[in-house]
């Protein structure tokens, strides 16, 4: 896996604070496991079927099954979850979920308390970029992970820019480490 960590969109530079690179998927798995209240946010690009996007829905569902992580589907992504037989995703506007994750007093979808780790994938790169920046600057006690194929520097942690196979393999590893299949 390449550890090159330049923002996928060339001009979307960040800093001084930049995401740590997930050099091994095990890192992400460990973080998810360690988190008390993780959550995953899946954007509409997951509903597309080109090579960059094909399996995100499936991976999200498998992660949910592996560790019970709640799934937020932004925009019309929910439809694809339902289509794939998964009925537990919650539909929310991306900004709305971002705004709530920012709020340390928000008790989450289930009312049981604030989340401490938010995973993102499938949003347009630049939109995820700014939402992650919002969370970086204004959330307290929340870590973020970008699981997209591209390095997104405003996350706490992000994959570097990956080849599709590397990316897929990373998910397989994470799901496996989470005890899923």
């Amino acid at each position: 896996m390449s550890a090159k960590a330049e923002s996928w969109q060339t001009a979307e530079i960040a800093g001084p604070t930049k995401a740590n690179v997930i050099v091994k998927p095990e890192i992400a798995a460990a973080m998810i496991k360690r988190a008390k209240r993780p959550i995953i946010v899946v954007g509409y690009l997951s509903t597309k079927t080109d090579k960059d996007t094909g399996k995100m829905i499936e991976y999200a569902i498998r992660m949910n099954k592996a560790c019970g992580i709640p799934v937020v589907a932004t925009a019309h992504t929910i439809k694809e979850f339902v289509k794939q037989g998964f009925n537990d995703a919650i539909q929310m506007n991306a900004m709305d979920i971002g705004n709530r994750l920012k709020d340390p007093t928000w008790n989450g979808l289930d009312g049981k308390g604030p989340y401490d780790l938010a995973l993102f994938m499938g949003l347009p790169f630049y939109m995820e970029f700014v939402i992650l920046a919002g969370l970086k600057h204004f959330s307290t006690n929340l870590k973020t992970i970008s699981l997209d194929r591209y390095f997104n520097p405003h996350a706490s942690w992000s994959f570097p820019n990956l080849k599709v196979e590397e990316w897929n393999q990373s998910f397989e590893t994470i799901i496996n480490k989470l005890g899923g299949n």
Binding site: W8, Q9, T10, A11, I13, A14, G15, P16, T17, G43, Y44, D50, T74, A75, H76, I78, K79, V82, K83, I90, Q91, N93, A94, M95, D96, G98, N99, R100, K102, W106, L123, P124, F125, Y126, M127, V130, I131, A133, G134, K136, H137, F138
Partner: protein, 781 residues
């Protein structure tokens, strides 16, 4: 009406009669009591006069800041790192800095429209005199300039009257911009309030600009039947000498038409336009052609079809001169805003100018006289066209194949593309002679050409796409209804009740730029979804063009299929960007005409009215400019929610409600003074929608208002639920928040919904006479 000053004629008394020495006339205000409307509390408000109202909105719709980067670089104290809880050298924190950037954008936007208006009014007074009467729509319009009346407390009847409003707007822009200085405002909420103020000034600037040009140039006057005009590459007759005008400020384009008319050559020269100048050009002369929105600039120029380009101001590619040179097209710059480094030749003779352009002695000239610019454009294009012979730099297929073969797949192009288009893959296909992927990319292309710049081998990738889509491009020929201008009073009278009571489910305003995430089609799709559900869909600017660019199976555009009136199912093009206040004006006029509220200097009450009662929602799907920011801001202060497309997330701040916080959604019942829970209506004041599907569902939801009658709410719910199921595949999770009592429940869904209500522990609530303003309570509770 009241005037602050007296009328001053242009000639000096000295030359007419005698020199008046030491004359001092002190008259105070002239009061014209034919206008009986009493003055409200805030005519020509200062930066703080409406701050309480702003804070009321901001209490409910809190800013969510989305920094573009971690630092501030606005002064030379910096750069300063604002990450974590750090403060800059001036003491500012990240929240305040982001809101400051929002304010700055709104100031730039407001300045742009106000300066545009000032230029127009100044120019038109110079040509037609200050007494020239304004005419928004003849007898069909009584409230001539609802925004100006509401904000400034004045009635504008002549061109000269407009100057007072512009003086005010310029002063406000200056004050607001001043607040962006280092060490000024320290509170993010105050920055937000000032951004609202700039947005309000922007609305005045735009209204003045459009009313001036409508009145003097005889644009369609509040005309639902404004002519259908031709739009698209294919609409231009490329055999003719062709002038392309680009920009927003129409006088120099009018100069072209006037000269052609005078010389009886209209029809011999093709006059085509891009961006708002194109709108206004066709409002002036419907035989002119619209090429398309802003994103069409580069591909049209490179195609070589324009034999002369005239630019005025705003939203013009900064490399127009360089690109035009490549295809040997001379350029005339005609605005002080955009001089392009060209020599100012305003005082040279037409012959000299034409000669220099035709002989290629200069690549362009600056002519700051719209009539002369028009004359030079026409005379030059007639001679340039045969010489140019439509010289194009769109490469042939062999060149593209060779480039495709030479491409190393470095990905710099896709990493530069705002829409992440798979250009390297298209290059691979092109190497094999397959241009289909490039043609697909063109569909999603916003014409920014960052790919060209990024390519280390300097391949003109945007030209490759243009070539690939060439055939389709040249088949583009559509009909767009020309900008109609304002909404008639009678239209308001007819629909005001149904809108306020919720029986017309909403007014969907789709405005602004063409920075789309995925093709133009979304705009038409969204429009039709709402039009066929009998919402009113109002359009302006590039969005109004995009709507035209989709035909149904019968070859008809939405402008042909749906009526142009402000009525259920209407699809209205109000005009160019400066026509946006007709949309705000419609909402304001509902309060005035339908509800008989006073407008004059009565901003807060009317905004409260609109926010609680008028189910209007704005969409700027391709928003990208600072003007779009200020336009949105003008709507926010009126309490009208605005949704932007994905790229709009880069404006760095959303205004989001929290549906889960019950305490945020109380209003006063004006009848009793009780605080009544109304549910999150409307839920957000500003947010980003990720997809067109989300836009549709979200906007249906954002049409809810506390004042909806049960019938109206039930209809709105029907649409919301229906659309939610259709696009999301599931029932909404939140319908219980929008049902006040069982009458609200759509009859056909009763069993299903009642079950949900039970699960959610729903309780019935009152339907108030809603207001956020304590002072509006008629009887204290």
């Amino acid at each position: 009406m009241a005037k602050k000053g007296l009328v001053v004629k242009a000639k000096e008394l000295k030359t007419d009669v005698a020199v008046v020495k030491d004359l001092q006339v002190s008259i105070g205000k002239l009061v014209d009591d034919t206008w009986e409307e009493p003055m409200g509390p805030t005519p020509m408000p200062s930066m703080t006069d409406l701050r309480d109202w702003d804070f009321e909105l901001l209490r409910r719709y809190k800013p969510f800041y989305l920094p573009f980067c971690d630092v501030c670089c606005l002064c030379t104290f910096g750069k300063c790192d604002l990450s974590g809880d750090k403060r800059g050298a001036c003491g500012l924190n990240m929240a305040a800095q982001q809101s400051r950037i929002v304010l700055l954008a709104c100031c730039i936007g407001a300045a742009t429209h106000t300066a545009h208006a000032r230029h127009l009014v100044h120019h038109l007074i110079e040509k037609h005199g200050g007494d020239f009467p304004l005419d928004q729509g003849g007898l069909n319009i009584d409230v001539e300039a609802p925004v100006t009346r509401l904000v400034c407390g004045i009635k504008v009847e002549t061109l000269r009257d407009m100057e007072e409003a512009l003086d005010w707007a310029e002063e406000q822009v200056t004050h607001c911009l001043s607040a962006c200085h280092t060490g000024q405002e320290g509170s993010n909420l105050d920055f937000e309030s000032k951004a609202f103020h700039a947005g309000m000034a922007d609305q005045v600037g735009m209204e003045i600009a459009d009313l001036a040009q409508i009145s003097v140039y005889g644009f369609p006057k509040a005309d639902p039947e404004a002519p259908l005009v031709e739009l698209g590459f294919g609409a231009t007759d490329v055999k003719k000498p062709t002038i392309l005008v680009i920009g927003h400020n129409v006088p120099s384009s009018v100069g072209i038409i006037d000269y052609l008319t005078k010389k009886k050559m209209l029809g011999q020269v093709e006059v085509t336009g891009i961006c708002c100048t194109a709108h206004d050009l066709t409002r002036y002369e419907p035989s002119a052609k619209v090429v398309g929105p802003i994103s069409w600039q580069l591909k049209y120029i490179r195609s070589g079809m324009a034999d002369l380009i005239m630019v005025d101001e705003q939203c013009i590619r900064a490399d127009t001169l360089e690109e035009a040179q490549k295809v040997k097209t001379p350029v005339i710059a005609s605005s002080p805003k955009n001089c392009l480094g060209l020599k100012n030749r305003t005082n040279d003779s037409v012959d000299e100018l034409v000669n220099d352009l035709v002989e290629g002695k200069v690549h362009g000239v600056l002519i700051l006289d719209s009539d002369k610019a028009g004359e030079v454009a026409v005379e030059a294009v007639l001679k340039v066209a045969p010489k140019r012979n439509k010289f194009s730099i769109i490469p042939d297929i062999e060149e593209i194949k060779a480039a495709g073969a030479a491409c190393s797949g470095c990905n710099e192009c896709v990493r530069a593309c705002p829409n992440n288009q798979p250009i390297p893959e298209a290059m691979k296909a092109a190497a094999e002679g397959d241009l289909a992927p490039f043609s697909e990319i063109l569909d999603n292309c916003i014409g920014c050409a960052r790919c060209d710049s990024a390519c280390p081998k300097d391949f003109p990738l945007h030209s490759f796409m243009t070539k690939a889509g060439e055939q389709k491009l040249w088949e583009e020929k559509y009909l767009m209804r020309s900008g109609r201008g304002a909404i008639q009073d009678i239209e308001i009278r007819n629909v005001g009740g149904p809108i306020v009571l919720g029986e017309i489910p909403g007014v969907i305003a789709i405005v602004g730029c063409a920075n789309y995430p995925e093709g133009q089609g979304a705009i038409a799709e969204i429009t039709e979804e709402f039009a066929k559900r009998r919402y009113i869909v109002v359009l302006s600017g590039c969005a109004a063009m995009s709507v035209a660019m989709v035909k149904d199976e019968n070859g008809q555009t939405l402008y042909e299929k749906y009526p142009g009136g402000f009525e259920a199912g209407g699809v209205l093009n109000v005009g160019s960007c400066v026509s946006n206040p007709h949309i705000a004006g419609a909402a304001i006029k509902i309060a005035s005409i339908f509800a008989k509220r006073n407008l004059r200097g009565n901003y807060e009450e009317i905004a409260d009215y609109i926010h609680n009662r008028v189910g209007a929602v704005g969409l700027a799907w391709g928003a990208m400019s600072q003007k779009a920011a200020s336009i949105a801001s003008g709507f926010w202060r009126l309490g009208v929610p605005v949704v932007v497309g994905p790229h709009g997330s880069k404006y760095r701040r959303m205004l989001l409600g929290r549906a889960d916080k019950k305490e945020d959604w109380y209003v006063y019942d004006a009848r009793t003074g009780d605080k009544v829970y109304t549910g999150p209506t409307p839920e957000h004041l500003f947010t980003t929608a990720e997809t067109k599907e989300e836009v549709i569902v979200m906007m249906a939801k954002l049409c809810f208002r506390p004042n909806d009658t049960t019938k109206g709410r039930s209809m709105k719910l029907t649409h919301y639920i229906d659309l939610h199921k259709r696009y999301y595949g599931v029932m909404p999770e939140d319908i219980h928040l929008f049902i006040r009592n069982k009458m609200d429940i759509p009859i056909t869904m009763k069993p299903e919904i009642q079950k949900i209500l039970e699960e959610k522990g729903w309780e019935e609530t009152k339907i108030p006479d809603p207001t956020l303003l304590k002072r509006m309570v008629r009887k204290r509770g």
